[in-house]
Subunit: 395 residues, 2 copies
DNA sequence: GACCATTTGTTCAATCACTGAAGTTTATAC
DNA sequence: GTATAAACTTCAGTGATTGAACAAATGGTC
């Protein structure tokens, strides 16, 4: 294990720290293994049954956990199952260039309602619409306690965690998104980049337990990446880590929305495939990416060629990630996963070509549930405050 | 804070964990601020003086810490200064393609002796020579306790942490380096990639406190990178993270030692500059990189052009790192730092070009003390076991 | 030279959390 | 019914921190 201590403000630990750690362990075990009995919690955590009972008592008092039905065993007293209180809910907002989704989920990441609006081009109008739907959603909750609001954005959030600072595909100016929503609803609002939200979704709700090194690549108008290393999101300075999409593959290439030239996303995004298709003289300028996928499926050779070229560049860009970060898995998110038979093999071959002697290439996995990835990530974003470790547990 | 709990083997915490955390905090505060009094430790750590006294008592009993002279204050009782016991020493070995260095340092990273040998091309012969020097060094220690042996290598260490698995510039086959040295000396041996060792050197002995996101780029025969994110080394699957040097910048470019084509290091390493120089018809095939630097300093236009081209590609490759990881700092290690006036501006301009709107470019810093960077890293490698956090302290 | 404020370092009762053993409760099987 | 088994619960014991009170050491002041 390679780590350092944070020294400057290294506030020493006291006994509450132990309770804090164990409380989080127990809460997360209940979350991931529910329904589960106290006895099983003790076995899995290595803590004593007596300790588990005390912690669970506390969690029940705080309304995080409910006692459920009793189980059944070959003999002996029946276990009382514990589960998360799913009357605690979270609002998730997924802002994308064309559509914005507002949804309500419980702490298990199960959505109960969902609403889509087209994203206004003016950020202030967008924020107004979002606030309106969120308020309606909160009203519909009745007694259920709303924990907070998570927002996924196709851009970067500045140092103060409230301001969108870089969103070339959304084309919004730097805008404070957090404060107006927080003020209008009285709830805490957490903002996160869309690719990072997908990482959180994968780690919290996907079955990726034990995977401490993974990268999510989101492919739509642009290309974004979310980097998860050593079991933590790598956010970098000002949360800007993950912009591999704007590394120039060809410094003489076409101009990109970021102001640069020949960026990866200029060659590997949905928009790139549409450009390839048009450039091949295939007409039809009103086409969108799903249309292109359909055309290819119908056998259109030029559509197939355009997609193959896109896939080639996607794989080429991923070589940066494979070589530089050596993740266990690369999760691909976007419409392209619907035609994975077309993209997967091309990407795989590039990724395998990058695997250096002595290393094994990462698994490349399409996340077929797309739309939900971002939204689930927004839920995880809010859950982190209560479930996330404020200290990491060593392997 | 974005983290997850390790669930599978999530062994719960008990009261000893608190002592473990605080012990490490105190030990590191003594290391970084020595000489320091108990009272100051209490102020800085936020722990009670009584607690500090107990912990210090333990550290003194374990021989990690010594009481030094008393201080002097405007009034009041004089503080007793504490410092690390520098009778505890560590052996550092830096294996490089041409020379290997074996050195002895104390826990403060101060070297007391050092010996260089030319690296045999046969790994077994190399290991024999190294063992011989290490044993001589250990004998010379007398009473001083040797904590362990740290080894820096220009390659990757496999999953079992004992085997060199990828070292294209050293040209050694997969070799178990740890076991023979450990067996011959009876000490624990820690292996680490050279670039990662430089990261450890920067973080442990450089004045980089508080910098939790930095990348070291080592430039010599090849290009290596050491990635430090969220205050931890990113090692990736099988410790392969950091091989940005083998990302193809031009898939049609010259063949690389890794088997690929057009890798970054084919364009940006010392070897690349020598190739550019030869290709420009400048003769002199026995030339090495320091010679080329001297030629340029003497005004040789072709040498200058070759170095400028190398600098250009170095900067170009760093754009991957800037965009993808957004580190606060990039530390450059290698002979080229001696001519930083030539490289710095070229690299800086590329790095600035990569800074996306809303972000600030990283500081690019030449590490002028080169040779020592790797060696100091090997010392840190061993210190990690006792000083390194096995739990991270939150910000 | 005695006294005092001041600062360091130590001692000790109180508190908090976990352990582990012993006890309670609740179930099935014979 | 009685025995066995398993899930909780209770409680004394241990280890660690806190915080207040104390002891020691020092320079300045009267």
């Amino acid at each position: 294990m390679v780590e350092t201590l944070e020294l400057g403000r290294a506030h020493g630990a006291s006994s509450e720290v132990v309770r804090g750690i164990n409380r989080r362990i127990v809460l997360n075990l209940i979350r991931t293994r529910q329904p589960i009995s106290r006895a099983d919690l003790a076995r899995v955590s290595g803590l004593q049954r007596s300790t588990i009972s005390l912690i669970v008592e506390q969690l029940i008092a705080e309304n995080w956990v409910l006692e459920g039905p009793t189980g059944r065993l070959p003999r002996g007293r029946r276990p009382t199952f514990l589960r998360l209180n799913d009357e605690r809910v979270i609002v998730g907002v997924d802002i994308r260039p064309i559509y914005t989704t507002v949804a309500l989920a419980n702490v298990n990441g199960q959505f109960s309602s969902q609403e889509t609006l087209s994203t206004p081009s003016d950020p202030r109008a967008a924020i107004r619409s979002i606030i309106e739907r969120v308020q309606r959603l909160i009203h519909s909750c009745g007694d259920r306690k709303v924990e907070g609001i998570g927002v996924s954005l196709p851009g970067r959030i500045g140092r103060d965690a409230d301001r969108l600072v870089f969103a070339p595909n959304l084309k919004w100016p730097a805008t404070d998104i957090r404060t107006p929503i927080a003020r209008a609803t009285g709830l805490e609002v957490e903002l996160e980049n869309a690719a990072n939200a997908c990482v959180l979704a994968a780690v919290w709700f996907g079955r990726m337990e034990g995977c401490r090194n993974l990268v999510v690549v989101t492919v739509s108008e642009g290309i974004g990446t979310g980097i998860f290393l050593n079991g933590r999101l790598a956010r970098g300075l000002d949360g800007m880590a993950g912009e591999f999409g704007h590394v120039p593959l060809d410094p003489e290439g076409p101009v990109c929305g970021c102001g640069g030239r020949g960026c990866w996303e200029v060659f590997g995004s949905n928009r790139a495939a549409l450009r390839y298709f048009l450039e091949s003289g295939a007409g039809a300028s009103g086409l969108n990416f799903p249309d292109l996928l359909s055309l290819a499926d119908q056998g259109n050779a030029k559509a197939k060629a355009a997609l193959e070229r896109m896939a080639h560049y996607l794989g080429r860009g991923m070589r940066m990630i494979v070589a530089g970060l050596a993740p266990e898995r690369i999760v691909v998110v976007g419409d392209l996963t619907r035609s994975w038979h077309r993209f997967g093999p091309v990407i795989e071959s590039q990724v395998r070509a990058q695997a250096l002697p002595g290393s094994s290439p990462p698994l490349v996995i399409p996340a077929h549930e797309d739309g939900m990835a971002r939204l689930k990530g927004t839920i995880a974003l809010v859950l982190q405050k209560d479930f996330g470790g404020n200290r990491e547990i060593p392997a």
